[in-house]
C-alpha cells in the first residue's frame, strides 16, 4: 500500500485521474476550463502541466460536442474522461450519452465500445440556484447501458473514480460539490468541518479501486435502514447522531449497478426503510429504491418505505434551505417510520 495523505474530495479526484493517466497513455481529459486553469473546482489542476496539452485540454462550450467527441475518441481506442462543468449543463449532451455512448456496445454487438467516464459536480447547498444545484442522476439511472456512481468521501471518490475510468462501459460520475471541501451534515448555519477531521480523508497516494456496484455500510444498526448517497450520507449520519436512533446507514456509492444484496440484508434485519436523496421526488432514484425494497422485502417491512427528497420544484436560490432535504425532513421521516 502506498503512502497515505490527507485529501479533500477535490484532491482525491485529482489524484485518481493523475494515477490513471500515469498508468495508461490512452486516458485523455477534456472539458471547459480543465486545461491550463485546472477546472473551475480545480479537479484537474496540474494535469495539463504534467501530461501535456494533447492529453488535457480545454474545449469549446458545447456539451454535445464534448461527449460526441469523446465517443469518437473512444472508438479510436482512447479512454476519455470528460468533465461537464456542472451537472445542470449536461442536457445538451444527453443524446450523445443516451443514444450513443450508452448503446454503442449493444448496437454494434461489441465491435465498438465507449469506455468514457463523464465527471460532473452535482447537487445543491452552495446557493447555485436552479442551474448550478441539480441532481439529475435519475435521468441516467433510467438509461440502459450506463453506470452511475456517486461518492461521499475523499477515499471513496478516488477508489470509485479509478474503477470508473478503468471500466469498459460508460460511467456517469457525479461529484457532490457541497462536500468537495468537507462533510456537510445539513446544518447550514453551523461552521463547515474540513475533511481533515474525517477518517475518510486519509487517502493512499497510489492506485486502489473500490469496486462499482458495492455499497458501504457506514453505520450498523437495528431500528431502520437509511439508504443514501453523496451529500445525503453525511446529513443522515448527522441526524442519526443527533437523535440517537439505531439506524443502519448505507451509502450506495453506485446506483447502477446497485448493490441489492446489502440493501435487502439490511431491510430484512430492520424491517424499516428510508430512502434519501436531494433530487426531486417524482420518478427520482428513490422511487426505484422504494420499489425494489418492496419487491424484495415486502414480508419483512413493518412500515411503508419513506422517501426524503428535494421538492418537485426547480432548485430555488434564496429558499435553498427550505428546499434541501435537511435534518428536519429526515428527522420527521424517522419519526413516521418508527411510529408504525
Amino acid at each position: 500500500m502506498s503512502d497515505t495523505r490527507t485529501m479533500n474530495m477535490i484532491q482525491a479526484i485529482n489524484s485518481a485521474i493523475d494515477v490513471c493517466m500515469g498508468r495508461d497513455p490512452d486516458i485523455i481529459v477534456t472539458g471547459e476550463d480543465v486545461g491550463y486553469f485546472g477546472g473551475v473546482f480545480k479537479a484537474t489542476e496540474g494535469l495539463q502541466r504534467k501530461y501535456g496539452k494533447t492529453r488535457v485540454f480545454d474545449t469549446p462550450i458545447t456539451e454535445c460536442g464534448i461527449i460526441g467527441v469523446a465517443v469518437g475518441m473512444a472508438a479510436y481506442g482512447l479512454r476519455p474522461v470528460p468533465e461537464i462543468q456542472f451537472a445542470d449543463y449536461i442536457y445538451p449532451a444527453l443524446d450523445q450519452i443516451v443514444s450513443e455512448a450508452a448503446r454503442l456496445r449493444y448496437r454494434s454487438a461489441g465491435e465498438f465500445t465507449a469506455p468514457i467516464t463523464v465527471r460532473s459536480p452535482f447537487g445543491g447547498g452552495i446557493f447555485g440556484g436552479q442551474t448550478h444545484s441539480q441532481s439529475p442522476e435519475g435521468i441516467f439511472t433510467h438509461v440502459a447501458g450506463l453506470k452511475t456512481v456517486i461518492p461521499s468521501t475523499p477515499y471513496d471518490a478516488k477508489g470509485l473514480l479509478i474503477s470508473a475510468i478503468e471500466d469498459n462501459d460508460p460511467v456517469i460520475f457525479f461529484e457532490p460539490k457541497r462536500i468537495y471541501n468537507g462533510p456537510f451534515d445539513g446544518h447550514y448555519d453551523r461552521p463547515v468541518t474540513p475533511w481533515a477531521k474525517h477518517p475518510a480523508s486519509a487517502v493512499p497516494e497510489g492506485h486502489y479501486r473500490i469496486p462499482l456496484g458495492k455499497a458501504s455500510v457506514v453505520r450498523a444498526g437495528e431500528a431502520v435502514t437509511i439508504l443514501a448517497y453523496g451529500t445525503m450520507v453525511h446529513v443522515a449520519a448527522g441526524v442519526i447522531a443527533d437523535t440517537g436512533v439505531d439506524a443502519e446507514l448505507i451509502d450506495l456509492r453506485t446506483l447502477v449497478p446497485l448493490d441489492i444484496e446489502t440493501i435487502v440484508a439490511s431491510v430484512e434485519k430492520t424491517g424499516r426503510c428510508i430512502v434519501v436523496h436531494e433530487a426531486t421526488k417524482t420518478s427520482g432514484f428513490g422511487a426505484e429504491l422504494s420499489a425494489l425494497v418492496q419487491e424484495h422485502c415486502f414480508h419483512s417491512l413493518e412500515a411503508p418505505v419513506q422517501r426524503v427528497t428535494g421538492w418537485d420544484t426547480p432548485y430555488p436560490h434564496s429558499l435553498e434551505w427550505a428546499y434541501f432535504p435537511g435534518p428536519v425532513r429526515l428527522g420527521e421521516a424517522i419519526k413516521r417510520v418508527m411510529e408504525e
Binding site: 460526441g68 467527441v69 443524446d95
Partner: protein, 429 residues
Amino acid sequence: MADDHAGRNLPPLSLHIPEPRFRPGDTVDFGHFEIPAADASSRPPIDAAAEAMRGHSYGLVRVLDEDDRAVGAWDPKLSPERLLRMLRHMALTRAFDERMYRAQRQGKTSFYMKCTGEEATCIPATHALDRGDMVFPSYRQQGVLIARDWSLVDMICQIYSNSGDRLKGRQMPIMYSAKEANFFSISGNLATQYPQAVGWAMASAAKGDTRIATAWCGEGSTAEGDFHSALTFASVYRAPVVLNVVNNQWAISSFSGFAGAEATTFAARAVGYGIAGLRVDGNDALAVYAATEWAAERARGNHGPTLIEHFTYRSEGHSTSDDPTKYRSADERTAWPLGDPIARLKAHVIAIGAWDEERHAAMDRELAEQVRAAGKQAEALGVLGDGMHQPFSTMFEDVFEEMPWHLREQSAQMHAERAVSGITAGGEK
C-alpha cells in the same frame, strides 16, 4: 419611457415559411439553378487559407463536361482501371438497392433505404480515401461498404436480422457496423456521428497517427446541434477530418429550405467556422473523387478539416416507409439538371474508349447475379419474416461488458415467459 414607439403606424410583422418550388402535379423547371461550366472552378493548393477560398463554398466543383470529357483543374486524372472499378461499385450498389427494396416489399425485412441517384456522393469519395481512414456514415452510405468490397452476404444478413447477422438482430435494417472495414456503427439519430468523427480525428492527431476520419450527413441534419458542435471542434483543433453533407434536396418531405438552403449553401457553413468548404456536383463521380482527394491530402498535411457539400438529388423515397409522390413533383427526378451519376460516369468511360454499351450491359447482368446469389446465401440463414433468429439470451448481452444482477433477473423472467408461451428462437428449442 422605453415605450416611445407606441402609437406609430408600424407594418405588421409576417413570418416566412419556406415552400418548395414544385409540388405533386407541377411541371418542373430547374432553370433557376446556376450550373457553372465543368472547368470553371479553380483548384486551390491543399494548404490554402480557408479565407482565401471562400468562393468554393458557393461555386460548384465539376469535372465531367457536356461531352462526357474530364476537364479543368479538378480532373483527378484517374486510370481507366480506377474509373471502371468506381463504375462497377456504383452499379453494384444500385443493383443491391434494387434487390433489397424488392426483398422488403416481399416481406423479407421491415425496412430499407436506397441511395439511388446519390451513388457518387460516397463511392468515389471512398476510392479517394485510404482503407485505414475511419468512416462515420449516416444511413445512406452503403456505397462505402461496397466500395471497400465488404461482403454483400454480411450486409444482407444484417438487413434480414437473421442468424448470420453479426449485430444479433438488434439494429434496424441498414444500420450496419463493420469495424474491420473501418466503418462506424450507424445510429438512427441524426448527425450524432459528426462530432464522433471529429473526436476520432482528434485522437488520431493526438497520437501522431496518419489516418484521418470522415463523416457523412444529409443537408437536413445540418440543422442539428451536433453538426455545429462538430464544426466548432473541427475548426478549433484543426482536426484531420473530411465532413460531407449530402444535399439531396429532400429530408423526408421537407425540402432543403427548411435546413436553410433558401439563404445560402451548405458548404458555406464552413465560412463561419473558418474552415475549407467545397461545393461539389454530387452526381459527377470525378468531381467527388477530386474534392475528397484534395480534402484528405489537406487533412493529412495538418492543414485542417474540410466541409464538402455534395449537390445531388434523392431520386427515390426517403425509405420504404415513404411515398414521395405525396409531397413533390414526380418530374423532379427526370428534370434534375445534373443527370444520373452512373450514366454520366459510364458515358465518360465510353467517351475515352475504355468501355462500351455491350460490356456495361454484361456487367449489369453479372452484378444482378452477384446480388441474387448473395441474397440466396443470406436467405438460407433466415429472413425477418420467419421470426426471431437469435437466441433469446442475446437480448441481455452487450448492454454492459459484464451482465449485472438486474439484467440476469430480467433474462430469467423473459425465459420463463417464453416457456409459458411455448415460443423459442435461434436454436433454443
